[in-house]
């Protein structure tokens, strides 16, 4: 089957910043994304877990976008403005999709 190359961007970010990030993505013309809950993890800011979570300040989500390569720079510029000072990870991988016109 015919496949097409694309870029998969995974942004793991504080839950409290989720709507700001997705607003920025939409503003940059990226209307397709998927949001996943993150159960827990550990990093420079220490270990954390999703259980309990009384405070709205804690908790992370992962926002996944798949875009054509030529749209990657606009996406990263918009996302960086939001995530620059915050806890999180941005990573980009190559991927293949079946329906190129959707990205």
């Amino acid at each position: 089957m015919q496949t097409h190359t694309a870029k998969r961007v995974e942004i793991t970010i504080e839950k409290i910043m989720q709507s700001r990030l997705t607003d920025a993505l939409v503003g940059a013309g990226v209307h397709g994304y998927t949001i996943l809950p993150v159960f827990g993890g550990s990093g420079r800011s220490g270990e954390w877990s999703r259980s309990g979570q009384i405070s709205r300040a804690e908790g992370m989500v992962q926002v996944i976008c798949i875009v054509r390569e030529e749209r990657l720079d606009a996406l990263l510029t918009a996302a960086f403005k939001v995530v620059e000072k915050h806890i999180g990870i941005v990573n980009i991988t190559d991927c293949e999709v079946l329906r190129a016109e959707r990205f």
Partner: protein, 324 residues
């Protein structure tokens, strides 16, 4: 003094404090006991709805008077003022830099609704009535402290606050639910309460116990990972600031002529520190500040202090001052 110790001893063996202690022990002992996120949210929604509704019913029964408006104004002023007091204390006794001191200070002007709920539970057990509108005062005290904290760090600089953050602070789920339930309770009154009392009155303490078990787990985990970040001076602040805040609350309550129960609740509100609304706002507006410091102080030091010693202390002082 003997009264305070007797009250503290009674409080120590109450189910809510023991449930908190169990959670704290389980977390520090690294047990795998945990309350799922959705359950914790459900418990908190229940408690906010129940306390708001009952507050509204009480206002419906006793009517609205000038003291309600004045109490709201006093709450807003205290919420804005206390971060400045806390900031001065933090800068004088701890090594925290301006940014982290301002972030911590903001938490101590805002309120902990669970501490408030625990205080109402102690008052109910002691048969002491309080003004129902103190729930509305609690809601009004959530946000002004955030503005004070941001003012302390920016001193008029713009850019820390945006329209989204304003909306999130003023319309955060806890405030909407608390105020909404308060209005529903006020509109439906005693009749409304009768219809749902089997849901919001009888199970209340049991749900509070489970929620405090979760609070103990979260506080214990916070202490285990963030405790190393806090020096003795920061821990001293977390224990000293609540009685200082309570003294401001006591002065305001006496000036307003609140009842004994209302005075204890006002003292509890001014003594408590936020761990819901303010940390979220600080993560957005002051991302450079270390959340482990302010969350550990608020949840791991001040919350247990108020729950175990603070509430009986405020009750004893308010009783002594009011001659009750």
């Amino acid at each position: 003094m003997a009264d305070i110790l007797a009250l503290a001893a009674d409080n120590l063996i109450s189910p809510i404090v023991l449930c908190f202690a169990l959670g704290l022990f389980a977390a520090l002992a690294r047990s795998d006991l945990s309350i799922p996120e959705a359950v914790a949210k459900g418990l908190s929604i229940y408690l906010l709805f129940a306390i708001g509704f009952k507050g509204g019913v009480s206002v419906a029964a006793h009517g609205v008077d000038l003291t309600l408006g004045l109490s709201l104004i006093a709450g807003i002023i205290l919420s804005a003022l206390l971060p400045i007091v806390a900031f001065a204390l933090l800068r004088s006794i701890t090594q925290l830099d301006r940014l982290n001191a301002a972030a911590v200070a903001g938490h101590y002007g805002s309120i902990s609704i669970v501490t408030f709920v625990a205080a109402t539970s102690v008052l109910e057990s002691s048969g002491i009535a309080a003004e129902g509108y103190m729930v509305a005062v609690a809601a009004a005290m959530e946000a002004p402290a955030i503005l004070s904290a941001l003012w302390l760090i920016s001193r008029g600089e713009s850019g820390r606050m945006d329209a989204n953050l304003w909306r999130e602070i003023m319309l955060n789920g806890s405030i909407v639910l608390l105020v909404g339930a308060f209005i529903i309770g006020g509109v439906t009154g005693e009749e409304g309460l009768k219809e749902i009392s089997s849901f919001i009155v009888e199970p209340f303490k049991g749900v509070l116990c489970l929620f405090l078990l979760d609070m103990g787990l979260v506080a214990g985990r916070g202490l285990a990972k963030g405790g190393k970040l806090l020096g003795w001076s920061s821990i001293a602040f977390g224990v000293l600031m609540p009685p200082i805040g309570a003294a401001f609350g006591l002065a305001a309550a006496l000036a307003l002529g609140l009842s004994l129960g209302g005075t204890v609740l006002m003292m509890t509100l001014t003594a408590s520190a936020s761990y819901i609304a303010v940390p979220a706002a600080m993560r957005v507006a002051l991302p450079e500040a270390n959340p482990s410091i302010y969350l550990t102080l608020s949840l791991g030091v001040t919350f247990p202090f108020n729950l175990v010693l603070g509430i009986p202390l405020y009750l004893a002082v308010a009783s002594a001052v009011s001659g009750g």
